[in-house]
């Protein structure tokens, strides 16, 4: 049935009027229900329904009004102007057609078919009793009611759309009529010009031309004439920097090579002790038994790998940010030798069964740790004197973190090894302090200094906020120093000390949040660089673990979580998330950034990628099952189940740990290979450089040409 326009409009107004009173009388009706507490939810639902109805009514009213004004607009006499606007809307193809068919008659006046509206209106049950059954019933009734309103609204909107389309078609008919009968030559010319403009295309060679490129400023490098199948992502090559002092360069390289060697050794041991969880009878040799090898693993990666890597990078950073020469290269070598000696003798002692009586990470006896301490003291003096004769006015924040970390490490070592406060539980209080200051004030602090130098350098922009760096510096000293005893929550050390440690752990949100924000915001506007750099993915991973791993530490410190996770392998997973996820990834990032600068050689991007992915995937395989299994184990313990049940339950998670550990270990072999490639003396002959050298030589040998 086709409806004429006036009838349809009357209908629309009718619907709108119907709706408005409906929402109006919905309110007093529903207020009665609010008398009962039970019908609170009902009241809310009814109010929402009423609100929806009111909005629908308003929207319909607005639509109708708009349509009306459109119709009125179309009846105005400026139709020529309107048509001119339409002409501008035409695309090239349409113009083509118009020009071609200008003399042909146009079909117009399509019939419109509209359907009558079947929107239904149900009446609301007015009688309300404070009975759940009734309330539910009313709710059930309201549902179809609302659905009915929704359907009606849709129908009305369809009707409006039809009306709008009819108006448009009429307008189109008039426009076509105008084009056919009234358009003059000037209009046609306008159309032709418009078509030419629309058809204009760039040749695609505006910026190139056919000649060879002329690069007056040396901006074009690494020209690739043949595009190969990109099996490995292409990364940017390291930028050639001014040569640094070769003597310093040799020292830094030596630190990094020793560190890498200790990483491979230390994690081979770690891998083996991990396997012992799966196969406890792998060997029966006293020197290789679990209790003796475990501290060999931890101490080797702590003092051998991470410490040497950090110090090596520190020897590069401190003179660079001070813009001066290192105070003494010789002292640097002494430090390297002493620390290596400490790790070698320490490990031999541990395997022979000579240790410092049980405290974690202070298994080396004091004569061994003294070697390490002297190495640190030499380095501290060296860095301090270098900074003292800096040629920059300010001390760059990296220097803050690095020098402070070495000072703190010395304090920690002294506190841990001096005998005057170690009897009875004093040993435990110092132990809690020592082991946590070791990771937080030595490894983490130093590494932050490294990141503050290398991250801006690799992104080629300044750090986001110097102030945040300063805030994090002081906040970390303030909060971190007190959190050590959270390793002994519920033990017999004083309750107030445990609480202080927990509060400090929560306070760590401040420095971690500040540091994380600072690093992530430094990436702002530079995210595209991540994809074509091989150092930035390492930095980014480290930053993410810096936030997650550190805050996990906060979460673990609460008494409730301690109950569940303490004594389980959750702690082992956490220490790997942090020491590996943060410290190692940052150290690798910095090493991949600095070594090409020192040697002028890069490692293959494919093996760097292999290192990155194996380390990351391995770490996740290692930690996630271990955290999951440990949670289950804690629950079993809390349930009072026999201990051996929790051992049986852990078996698959220990297997996963060994698998993840193997991947991590494999990645370290790639790392060692990459270091080798960055140092390799017999690299491929550089054709250009060799040719120049040859010419130079010939030029020098040739007799001076006679003029």
């Amino acid at each position: 049935m086709s409806l004429s326009q006036p009838i349809r409009q009357t209908m629309l107004y009718g619907f709108a009027c119907l709706l408005l009173p409906a929402s109006a009388y919905a309110n007093p009706l529903l207020q009665q229900t609010s008398l009962s507490a039970q019908s609170h939810g009902l009241l809310l639902a009814a109010l929402v329904a009423a609100g929806i109805m009111f909005l629908v009514a308003l929207y319909l009213l607005w639509s109708i009004t708009r349509l009306n004004s459109q119709v009125r607009e179309q009846k105005k006499p400026h139709r020529r102007e309107r048509f001119r606007d339409y002409l501008n809307l035409l695309n090239s193809e349409q113009i083509q057609k118009i020009l071609r068919i200008k003399k042909l008659p146009l079909l117009a006046g399509l019939l419109l078919y509209g359907s009558s509206c079947f929107a239904q209106q149900t009446t609301v049950v007015r009688k309300l009793i404070n009975d759940p059954g009734i309330i539910i019933t009313i709710l059930l009734i309201m549902l179809p009611l609302l659905a009915g309103i929704a359907i009606m609204a849709i129908k009305v909107l369809n009707l409006l759309q039809q009306q709008r389309n009819e108006n448009n078609r009429r307008e189109a008919g008039e426009f076509a009529n105008y084009l056919q009968n009234e358009a003059d030559e000037a209009t046609l010319q306008t159309l032709r010009d418009r078509q030419a403009a629309l058809d204009y295309r760039l040749s695609g060679q505006e910026l190139t031309g056919s000649g060879a490129p002329k690069d007056n400023r040396g901006l074009i490098t690494y020209i690739n004439h043949e595009e190969h199948l990109p099996f490995f992502a292409t990364k940017k090559k390291a930028i050639k920097r001014p040569d640094i002092d070769t003597a310093l360069s040799r020292l830094v390289v030596a630190f990094i090579v020793c560190a890498a060697a200790w990483l491979v050794i230390g994690t081979s041991v770690g891998e083996y002790v991990g396997i012992k969880f799966v196969s406890p009878d792998a060997d029966h040799i006293s020197w290789l038994s679990f209790g003796r090898l475990r501290p060999v693993h931890t101490n080797t990666v702590f003092w051998g790998w991470a410490s040497l890597a950090m110090l090596g990078l520190g020897y590069y950073i401190i003179p660079t940010v001070s813009n001066t020469k290192l105070y003494s290269i010789k002292w640097g070598w002494y430090a390297l030798i002493l620390i290596n000696l400490a790790v070698i003798t320490g490990n031999i002692c541990l395997m022979a069964g000579i240790n410092n009586a049980g405290g974690e990470y202070r298994e080396y006896t004091w004569p061994v740790m003294a070697l390490f301490g002297i190495g640190l003291a030499l380095t501290l003096a060296n860095f301090f004197k270098t900074i003292a004769r800096r040629t920059t006015h300010e001390i760059y924040i990296s220097g803050w973190y690095i020098v402070a970390a070495i000072m703190f490490a010395l304090v920690i070592t002294l506190v841990a090894y001096l005998p005057w406060w170690q009897n009875g539980l004093g040993e435990t209080i110092v132990q809690g302090y020592y082991m946590h200051m070791g990771v937080g004030m030595w490894f983490m602090f130093f590494t932050l200094g490294i990141v503050y130098y290398f991250l801006p350098q690799q992104l080629n922009k300044p750090i986001y906020s110097y102030s945040l760096g300063i805030l994090a510096f002081w906040a970390q000293i303030f909060f971190y120093t007190v959190i050590g005893t959270h390793h002994f929550v519920f033990s017999s050390i004083p309750w107030w000390l445990q609480t202080t440690a927990i509060v400090g752990s929560i306070g760590m949100i401040i420095p971690v949040g500040a540091g994380f924000t600072n690093f992530i915001m430094t990436f702002k506007g530079m995210w595209h660089k991540v994809a074509d750099s091989y150092t930035l993915p390492f930095f980014l991973t480290g930053i993410v673990f810096y936030l997650t791993g550190s805050l996990q530490g906060t979460a673990e410190a609460f008494r409730s979580t301690n109950l569940l996770w303490h004594f389980t392998d959750f702690t082992v997973a956490h220490s790997h998330l942090t020491m590996y996820g943060i410290i190692c990834f940052f150290a690798w990032a910095a090493i991949y950034a600095v070594l090409p600068r020192l040697t002028g050689k890069e490692a293959p991007h494919a093996t760097i990628g292999a290192h990155f992915w194996l380390a990351l995937v391995g770490l996740l395989f290692y930690t996630i099952p271990l955290m999951y299994g440990s949670t289950l184990r804690g629950l079993l313990w809390m349930d009072g189940k026999p201990f051996i049940e929790s051992v049986v339950m852990m078996a698959p998670y220990w297997l996963w740990r060994a698998i993840g550990g193997s991947l991590m270990w494999l990645s370290h072999l790639f790392f060692a290979y990459n270091i080798y490639k960055m140092l390799d003396k017999k690299a491929t002959v550089d054709i250009a450089a060799t040719a120049v050298a040859k010419l130079e030589k010939e030029y020098q040998q040739a007799p001076t040409p006679i003029q």
């Binding site: 209790g291 300010e394 304090v411 033990s491 017999s492 109950l563 026999p642 051996i644």
Partner: protein
């Protein structure tokens, strides 16, 4: 700011702040702790052998997996009758000029806590076999074996201790002999007990009490006999109830277990047994008394033993057990 650009002021301040906090949270509490806490009156000093054993415990890094601390939380009740207190560790002093104090509290429980291992597992036989290879006794154990604390030869000499080791763990015709070190280590483990607090001293409470789920019907609810067996008996008598030949007698088909007169069985569980030493079995420790088993728990364990591994004896009820328990006298204190 001038302060930030003066390396002496900057680093000096950072160092001072750090040292100040260090003194507050580490050095002063440690010293105060040392001054305040004295050894409990009932604490026994380590014997010479046990002291040597402790050194072996340290040298082999046992603390990597075994804690020695009962925390003041309900879940740690398994490991001791009261939470450990600072006075328990007051006797620990510097080991020697090279080595630090060894409280051996530990930070990880890959294996069980050892605070009361001397009470929970006093059997030297068990400890020796377990040290030689833990998997002889506890199949699922991941603890390392310590064969270097033992020698293997055809016959034990005078005064030497032979260890019960089943076939497959030692060549035929050979005997495993405990070295002095092994005996010292076992002596140390046997010495690990909780000292009773002096009369009048308040025992610290266990926090985070477990909520009993089956309230109301508790009177009729039976305890899980199997779980109790695993926790208290299985280490020696094994999951299959067959024990270990030459060390721990089988419960499967055992006359005492099958006997309808339950007096002897209850007595053995509570106070231990030395009746089968002549057959080569070791003495059984007073498991029930040591582990403070309740009559309900004893009943559940007995019924599990009486009905498992093909044992088809009549079950006991709680009243019967309570009656026998009231007649038993406490074992003689050594």
């Amino acid at each position: 700011m001038e302060f930030f650009n003066n390396h002496k002021k900057l680093f000096g301040t950072a160092l001072l702040l750090f040292v100040f906090l260090t003194i507050i949270v580490a050095i002063l509490p440690a010293m105060q702790n040392e001054r305040k806490n004295k050894l409990l009156p009932g604490a026994e000093p380590l014997t010479a052998d046990a002291a040597k054993g402790k050194e072996l415990f340290i040298a082999n890094g046992c603390v990597a997996c075994h804690t020695q601390q009962v925390r003041n939380v309900e879940m740690d009740k398994t490991w001791g009758s009261r939470p450990s207190i600072a006075a328990d560790y007051a006797g620990s002093r510097r080991t020697d000029v090279w080595r630090n104090t060894a409280t051996l509290m530990g930070t990880e429980r890959t294996g069980p806590d050892l605070t009361t291992i001397g009470t929970r597992q006093p059997s030297a036989e068990w400890q020796l076999t377990h040290l030689y290879n833990p998997r002889i006794l506890v199949e699922a154990s991941v603890m390392p074996a310590y064969p270097w604390l033992f020698t293997v030869k055809p016959q034990p000499g005078m005064g030497e201790v032979a260890v019960s080791v089943p076939e497959g763990y030692v060549a035929k015709g050979q005997k495993v002999i405990a070295t002095r070190e092994a005996l010292q280590l076992v002596a140390y483990l046997a010495s690990l007990k909780q000292t009773t607090l002096p009369d009048g001293a308040a025992t610290p409470e266990f926090l985070y009490k477990r909520t009993v789920k089956a309230e109301g019907g508790a009177a009729t609810a039976e305890l899980d006999g199997e779980a109790l067996y695993v926790a208290n008996c299985q280490a020696c008598h094994q999951p299959n109830g067959e024990g270990l030949p030459g060390a721990f007698p089988p419960l499967k088909g055992s006359k005492i277990v099958l006997d309808d007169n339950v007096e002897l069985m209850i007595s053995i569980i509570m106070n231990g047994y030395e009746g089968r030493i002549k057959e080569g079995y070791g003495p059984m420790p007073a498991v029930g008394v040591n582990n403070q088993l309740t009559p309900e728990e004893v009943t559940a364990i007995m019924n599990h033993e009486k009905s498992s591994w093909g044992n088809g004896a009549k079950k006991v009820d709680l009243e019967q057990v309570k009656k026998v328990l009231s007649t038993l006298k406490a074992p003689e204190q050594p």
